[in-house]
Symmetry: C2
Subunit: 330 residues, 2 copies
């Protein structure tokens, strides 16, 4: 059976242009012992992909080799199996890549319960939810009554971070790049405040939303929100650095704040990436699933249609054009 896949054939410069990808038509082969054939139904697009595409940036996991199928996580259905651990009809989540079909030996795949949708899996029970959990709960260590500021709050990670913060009893302030996103954060997700970072009076608005200062800053973006929030950190504040989306597509990264406040307020700033914490994924997924079942974690999927929609669609992550967790429905 013929199917399409998309390979990475060039390293992107600053922006991701279509010519870095090549769509190829492949054909499934007979399975060997232990193999399964996966039909991907939902493919996740995540900001981390920008790093995976670059050879020269000293990133935290090896880059995608040129000529390889582009790396991504996704939800798939098992359509053939020569592996006793997987039956035809099982649904799995894992690193499947930009492809309609894939052959796997089952390594790194997690079987999904029947009652959870593919959207919920990609929005909550995979990279975004796990990243939010690791960063906020394990590194930030929130306490009830504290104030959390999360930048990129309408993004796939940020929206989970804010909701986890609310579930922990924090005052939660989010920043996002559009008024409708801000309305969604407050009206649907229960954030205490949401601020459009393009506001002319951004500093004043952040100050007014955080009268007791900031205890945890969850950083997804960089930019002016970083500088303003850094200046409002309370003593013993924690800054969790998860993303710097404003700087991914530039060769002139903007300066960070002066470090004096790190001493004055005895701040801890911690960078992390999920691949350092894969061993704890099963435990974290269980915890997230409980929050999801309790209705504490709402999500919004932004679905593109068809494999090749990923080629242009990935840039929505960097222009802020997506409304909700970006994914491709196959």
């Amino acid at each position: 059976m013929k199917y399409k896949a998309i390979k990475l054939v060039k390293r992107p410069n600053l922006t991701i242009t279509p010519d870095v990808f090549e769509t190829v038509t492949l054909e499934t082969q007979d399975l060997a012992d232990g193999e399964i054939l996966l039909m991907q139904t939902h493919m996740s697009l995540d900001p981390a992909m920008r790093g995976w595409m670059s050879a020269d940036r000293g990133s935290y996991i090896p880059p995608v080799e040129l000529g390889d199928v582009m790396r991504s996580s996704g939800v798939a259905e098992v359509v053939e199996s020569r592996n006793e651990n997987f039956a035809v009809g099982d649904r799995v989540v894992g690193m499947i890549g930009w492809t309609e079909y894939a052959v796997s030996k089952g390594q790194g795949l997690t079987k999904l319960p029947p009652n959870v949708s593919a959207e919920a899996v990609l929005c909550v029970l995979s990279l975004p939810g796990l990243t939010a959990w690791q960063g906020l709960m394990e590194i930030g260590k929130p306490k009830a009554g504290e104030t959390l500021v999360v930048s990129g709050a309408a993004g796939s990670v940020g929206s989970m971070v804010g909701q986890l913060g609310k579930a922990e009893g924090m005052t939660v302030v989010g920043t996002a790049g559009a008024d409708d996103k801000c309305a969604w954060l407050v009206d649907e997700l229960g954030f205490d405040h949401a601020i459009n970072y393009k506001s002319a009076d951004l500093e004043k608005r952040i100050r007014e939303a955080t009268p007791n200062g900031v205890d945890i800053y969850f950083e997804n973006t960089g930019g002016p929100v970083q500088h303003i929030t850094f200046g409002r950190m309370n003593a013993h504040g924690r800054i969790v650095v998860c993303g710097m989306i404003a700087d991914y597509n530039t060769d002139k990264p903007s300066p960070g704040p002066n470090w004096i406040n790190i001493i004055r307020k005895r701040l801890t700033i911690t960078g992390f990436t999920m691949p350092d914490h894969w061993d704890r994924v099963p435990e974290m997924m269980q915890k997230l699933a409980a929050y999801l079942a309790a209705g504490k974690l709402k999500y919004r999927a932004h679905k593109l249609q068809g494999l090749e929609s990923a080629i242009d669609g990935i840039n929505l992550l960097f222009t802020g054009g997506n409304t909700g967790k970006l994914m491709v429905e196959l």
Copy 2:
């Protein structure tokens, strides 16, 4: 008996000018029950004083009130006692202030063993040594074979940090502002490399001195060493932010590095000040005393003579004019 003391009467602007101090002549009174009279012999001058003198900087301990004797630590001899815990002739270390004599109830004073000099106490067994221990050992968590870069390495804290790093089996690189200081670090203290931060080829020299990257950066200064070393951090590197002496006396703090590297290398940056850790001082002093007795911690005192020498002398800390731990012999 008449004695001199120096009060803080104005807040300094950028630099500390003599008019912010006022020398007064006071007279000792009869002691009340529980009090002791201290004759200070050695008074410590430390960069942290700059913060204590400022009302408006949100510092970590309350500022010195205008009209109060300037705050400082020092070594003193008990010359009268109506407190059963202290005998005439006992030597103590504690926050005594800019004064020749002081009355105390003994709170916050630590008695000194007879075989340790006042210089050793102020160089090792008080703020500099304790700060170095807390920052490097408790926060940085050094491992043998790792590389440590310490800025302000010839300073009172930096010189202890580097020697503790060597004692832990690290490769130690220090930066300082003069060639003779660099020679002292390598020849006397056993640093592996010392680099004058005023070198035209600073980046190249730091790179060559750290061929395996940097695992711990102990920050005392800010400035170009910060930016260069930040770019050389290894994965899971630790940055301990203890001082930013380049920025204390300016109202235009220089920008810090962009935060992308914090994610890429999963760095942890921690600011700290000793007052958060006073409860552990007795334990840390014991550990430091053992290193001192074993000859692993050498020190150099820069002694000014007479109480009023502090007024101009304190600025040596910010111009880099001191050679060794700055103190006033009374």
